[in-house]
């Protein structure tokens, strides 16, 4: 999941933003969102039999 989040956030950031600073900020944000949502969903599904 971490690898997927890293690779996808690199492409999303390179595609959508124009300056290096914006790319970094957006990439880190997308990466964090992928991780947070992935971990959150994992815990939700953990309690569902």
């Amino acid at each position: 999941m971490t690898l997927f989040a890293a690779l996808a956030s690199v492409i999303f950031a390179a595609m959508t933003k124009d300056t290096t600073r914006d790319r970094w900020l957006y990439g880190v944000k997308v990466f964090a969102e992928f991780m947070a949502i992935g971990l959150g969903l994992s815990w939700v599904l953990y309690f569902i039999p």
């Binding site: 690898l3 997927f4 690779l7 996808a8 690199v10 492409i11 999303f12 390179a14 595609m15 124009d18």
Partner: protein, 144 residues
């Protein structure tokens, strides 16, 4: 009405033929479209991510899809993941020709990383579609 259509026609710029070729190159070899445009950083970042995703998928024992499996209508179930896999262009075609990633091996399917692998292979194709569209937009002058 006629005036509106004329204004819309003036605003519409035809896509140059080179943009289609760049898009085709970007699909066929991940990163090639941006390389042809001289966008080295984007080529390395975006194309590199696709290549890494694809290689990791294969290393994890992932499986790619074609229309050879399935019976009757169930063959259609292979089409959506196959469209994802096809996004990697030459990587998919070469793997198909060499039989890499297409074998129906129970031991491979039993690997812990098998599910991750085939998802990575599909994601690689989908990410390359995005990369291709980015290269096409740059070549068509719709994006800086």
């Amino acid at each position: 009405m006629v005036k509106t259509e004329r204004i819309q026609a003036d605003e519409f710029e035809a896509t140059p033929g080179s943009a289609w070729l760049i898009g085709l190159a970007a699909w066929f070899i991940p990163g090639a479209g941006h390389l042809l445009l001289g966008r080295w950083v984007r080529a390395v970042l975006m194309g590199g991510a696709v290549w890494i995703c694809f290689i990791l998928g294969l290393q994890m024992g992932g499986h790619m899809y074609d229309l050879s499996t399935g019976q009757g209508w169930s063959t259609l179930l292979q089409v959506p993941p196959m469209i994802g896999n096809l996004g990697t262009g030459a990587l998919y075609i070469v793997s198909w020709l060499l039989g890499v990633g297409f074998t129906e091996d129970p031991q491979q399917a039993a690997r812990v990383t098998y599910e991750y692998g085939y998802i990575f292979l599909i994601i690689a194709g989908l990410l390359n579609y995005l990369t291709m569209l980015d290269a096409f937009d740059i070549a068509a002058g719709r994006k800086s």
